[in-house]
Amino acid sequence: MKRKTGLITSILIVIILLLGLVNLFVGSSSVSVGKMAEILLHHNTQDTVGVIIWEIRLPRLIEAAVLGGALALSGYLLQSFFRNPIAGPFVLGISSGAKLFVAILMVISYKLLFSLHSMMLVVAAFMGSCIAASLVVLVAQKVKNMSVLIICGVMIGYVCSAATELIVAFAEDSNIVNLHNWSMGSFGAASWSNVKIIIPVVLFAFVWAILLSKGISVYQFGENYASSVGVNIKTFRLVLILVSSLLSATVTAYAGPISFVGIAVPHVIRSILKTGNVKTMIAATFLGGMAACLFCDLVARCMFAPTELSISTITAIFGAPIVIMMLLQKKSSD
């Protein structure tokens, strides 16, 4: 078993590196291998190609990888917690909260006639995610029943969406397009300044997830059981939701809402590795998410170049069949 896990993890890492390379090379401008090596080794930002590589493609692929991992991990945490295979950041309404705040920001900026800095978008999305997450957390404190919690999350999601629609009704067409574009998700706005923030935050959350691994491993037997072996249920729940919300809020803030990665990747990884070991799963899921997003971003950029598809489209095309297959499998084994 252990050997198998090691093998697969190594394969994953190799895949990630390969995808990373491919992402570097593929794009609107083509670069030869030799040129690439030179640019990378000497940190050449003198000519356009160098700038493209360093300022656009490299940060983008790093962001895609890290955020992809974050999404997948967030999904895994929520799924373990809810013991529900279709749990994900969407379910809890976190992404909808982000979208709502972005919508509000866009409308306000138009009305008050100031231009939108990308940073503002990020802050707004983050705020929205956090507020939605805190609502969920509040409910989680008071409610012992799992299904009720999920329903609350879904409701919050609906409320936010409704509010968003309301705002859209009063917005200018151009704004609506902006919002729509944003809400489809894209890694296009990647930059080193973003990456500088993203990496520490995600790392922080990752470390916390590892610390939670012991609790998660007993939690999957039921809350009652976890409680009886000494897990402080209320604290555990809170921390878990916060970590997972932090992860998905980060993604939503910097790349907009991205669907299906959170739901599908953990399942794919689990069925490949065939293990329930939490620490293994956390690490492997993160790697899987990295690989998945790198791949999807590649497809989004290059499939219909120069038109860039939104990433949610791609993740949905690949992710949805996986989710359906997985649901079918579950049904047959029940």
Binding site: L211, S213, F221, G222, N224, Y225, S228, V229, G276
Partner: protein
């Protein structure tokens, strides 16, 4: 020993109390099983003890620590729980599942140390799951999964385990092995186990203590399986129609007692018949006795029963337990040995408003009337347990009621009349006393005051103590039947029977003046066991007087000091009324004085009560015998047989004659002089000249002893007595029973009665 204690624990959800004020002890190494109907609150209690639910009130203590004060990890190291939850997991091995139990012991990242691994291995071995430790947990059968979950709980190395119906969905094979593992685990690793079970046979097998939780959220009974597993009780606990459980399960009742009584276990339910009266002293006891004799004569195994008796006259059975005398008499009529289960609750009044409560022979304490009224509902279980034991001994059980079933202010919580009839689904015969007048009002009025269901139980009416011409009565009986809808089963004549009476209300206080020998029994205020002297009544030449003033003492030929419920009080009374001096004077004239039990104690120099058995203190006795008594809490109850060893004075001819009786006293008496003559064997009584004292009750029952005493006294007075007619008291009673049974047969419609109880003749 740090055992677990539940103190005044109230449990429930959202402040709604489901179980109130639970007090329970869970000892290490022992298994406590909760049984009871669905919804009673067992799971709620278990969840609370496991720490998954907060208690509403009260606390859970381990040793002296309150559970809620412990940190979660400490709690997890003390208590492991297995609740009902079937979880599905993915890709987790059995070993990993069991490893989860080590959670409280591992560090931050949950890495397993060598010790952890060892514990996991041990746990797997204990449940027999070592072989498949690397299999995917999900692929196991339910039985195997339960075993693994148990291993997980074991790996937690707890001091206590809480399990909620751990075997409910397992097949019989797994059920048994699981329970077996649990029992061994508890014993070997000294773990206290609290669990609920639906399978009663399993509970009977594995429990050290059984706790029954009834539908109304209370602990109904707590006891060992032998005490609890009686069919009638279980029927009531689970609200099953009486008789149904009997057919489905055959529970063995008290093995020990059955062996003692030497009776085969029966599997069929007995026939019940209840005799209730319109008021006290209508003759219920004798009617029951007569019916017992009739059924015995007709070849049936019969037993009498009365759920609660209030009497000063108690009897000590062979096992050393106390029961009421009326049932002893009825048992004699039925031809079986009296046993305490015929009279599960005995109340012996100690004052106008308080009594000593004795349940199935064991003293439970003293209670005021009010306390007892509230307490008695808890005794239903004990009553049913007693009924169950009797069902093993008899095909027909005749139950005696108490007082009237229509005391409308006392009907709630009734356990003696209709309440009792309901418990065992017995038909009722209602007896009225025509001698005191108003029998129609008695019978009809009683029926009217009963509610419909109760009135439907009354299947026959009996008119008792009739004197005169029955033909005058007949039209009245017809109207009675019409108006009540209940047939009159018979009209019984007034009979003088020489059988023991229940309590002080009796005609025995009539005097027979002009009899040659006057026997005076001092009527102490707290007189007890005075049926000892009934035996003298059968001799026409003796007049038995019950004396409560000094005047009559001088005329007596023999003074008897009887037993007393409160020796020191009565001693004070003797002093205050001057009877003490009168008796001393009597004795100084060399006239015989006999003291039995309390009376015997009073003959001594001193009675002291250091253990506060009565009210403490000490008092000087009459000083007629040089001995001292110390009252002790330890009650002596034994049946005794012996011979008179060194009788002195008038009764010297008792030497080496046999007696048979019983001792029942709370005190020890020691002679102050070594040369004091022993009267009854083994230091149970001493004598000096014409003063005799003994602890033995029933001393005079033996025909020979009786004759000797009476002859002795007569000789002193130079009277010649013809004592040929004196018969052994036992023989006399047999004659009386047969006489009574024959009379009853003559006047009762026995066919109808057999019909009523459902016996085919």
């Amino acid at each position: 020993m740090t055992d677990m204690n539940l103190k005044e624990l109230s449990v429930g959800y959202n402040r709604k109390v489901i179980l109130d004020k639970i007090a329970l002890e869970i000892k290490k190494g022992k298994i406590v099983v909760l049984i009871g109907p669905n919804g009673a609150g067992k799971s709620t209690l278990l969840k609370t003890v496991a720490g998954l639910l907060d208690p509403i009130a009260g606390e859970i203590l381990i040793g002296n620590e309150a559970l809620e004060k412990l940190s979660l990890t400490e709690k997890a190291k003390k208590i492991a729980s297995m609740m009902t939850a079937r979880t599905t997991t993915e890709y987790i091995t059995v070993a990993e599942v069991v490893a989860g139990g080590r959670y409280p012991y591992t560090g931050f990242l949950g890495k397993l140390s060598e010790e952890d691994k060892k514990e996991i291995e041990n746990a797997l071995h204990t449940v027999g799951a070592y072989a498949y430790q690397n299999d995917d947990f999900n692929t196991l059968s339910d039985g195997q999964k339960q075993r693994v979950l148990l291993a997980r709980a074991i790996a937690q190395k707890p001091e206590f385990m809480v399990l909620d119906e751990p075997t409910s969905f397992l097949d019989i094979g797994y059920k048994l092995t699981f329970i077996q593992v649990l029992k061994e685990l508890s014993e070997r690793q000294n773990i206290g186990i609290l669990m609920s079970l639906h399978e009663l046979e399993m509970a009977q097998r594995v429990a050290d203590v059984v706790v029954c939780i009834s539908k109304d959220g209370k602990i109904d009974r707590v006891g060992t399986p032998e005490q609890i597993f009686h069919v009638s009780y279980l029927e009531r606990l689970f609200e099953v129609t009486p008789g149904l459980l009997h057919n489905v399960y055959h529970f063995k009742t008290t093995k020990n007692l059955s062996a003692q009584i030497g009776v085969r276990l029966q599997n069929k339910r007995s026939h019940f018949l209840m005799v209730q009266g319109t008021m006290s002293s209508v003759g219920k006891s004798l009617v029951v006795a007569g019916l017992c004799r009739i059924f015995k004569q007709d070849g049936y195994k019969v037993a009498p029963f009365k759920s609660q008796n209030m009497a000063l006259n108690s009897f000590v059975t062979e096992e050393g337990l106390e029961m009421g005398r009326a049932q002893v008499m009825q048992a004699e009529a039925a031809g079986i040995k009296p046993n305490v289960f015929m009279n599960p609750i005995l109340l012996k009044p100690t004052s106008d408003s308080g009594s000593q409560v004795i349940v199935n022979g064991q003293v439970r304490g003293n209670m005021s009337a009010k306390e007892y009224f509230a307490y008695k509902t808890k005794l239903v279980g004990d009553i049913l347990a007693a009924v169950d034991i009797l069902q093993d001994q008899a095909e027909i059980i005749v139950i005696e009621g108490a007082g009237s079933p229509a005391e409308i202010n006392l009907k709630a919580n009734d356990i003696v009349n209709m309440g009792m009839a309901n418990m065992v689904d017995a038909p009722v015969l209602l007896v009225g006393d025509i001698d005191r007048g108003g029998v129609f009002a008695q019978l009809l009025g009683t029926i009217e005051l009963l509610d419909q269901a109760e009135a439907n139980r009354v299947k026959g009416l009996i008119v008792n103590k009739f004197r005169g011409d029955k033909t005058i009565l007949d039209p009245g009986l017809e109207m009675l039947e019409d108006r009540s809808g209940v047939p009159v089963v018979g009209v019984l004549p007034f009979m003088h029977l020489k059988l023991e009476d229940e309590d002080s209300l009796s005609e025995k206080f009539d005097r027979k003046q002009n009899a040659p020998i006057q026997l005076g029994v001092i009527k102490l205020p707290h007189i007890a066991n005075f049926t000892d002297f009934d035996v003298f009544e059968q001799i026409d030449e003796i007049a038995v007087h019950y004396i409560c003033s000094t005047k009559e003492i001088g005329d007596m030929d023999l003074i008897i000091l009887p037993g007393s419920k409160n020796t020191i009080s009565d001693m004070i009374w003797l002093k205050e009324t001057g009877i003490e001096s009168a008796i001393k004077k009597f004795s100084a004239e060399n006239k015989p004085v006999i003291g039995i039990c309390g009376g015997y104690q009073m003959l001594g120099e001193k009675i002291s009560d250091p253990e506060q058995v009565e009210n403490g203190g000490e008092i000087a006795g009459m000083g007629l015998l040089p001995l001292e008594t110390v009252l002790t809490i330890q009650k002596h109850r034994t049946q005794v047989k012996g011979i008179f060893t060194h009788p002195t004075g008038i009764l010297h001819s008792l030497l080496e004659k046999e007696y048979e009786g019983y001792e029942i006293h709370m005190g020890e008496t020691k002679p102050l002089e070594e040369t004091l003559s022993e009267f009854t064997a083994n230091g149970s009584g001493y004598c000096k000249e014409n003063i005799y004292g003994s602890y033995v009750h029933g001393l005079f029952d033996n025909g020979e002893v009786l004759k000797t005493i009476v002859t002795g006294i007569a000789a002193e007075k130079s009277i010649d007595l013809n004592l040929d007619r004196v018969v052994d008291y036992k023989q006399l009673k047999e004659q009386e029973y047969d006489k009574w049974a024959d009379t009853m047969r003559q006047y009762l419609d026995m066919e109808l009665i057999y019909n009523i109880i459902g016996v085919d003749r």
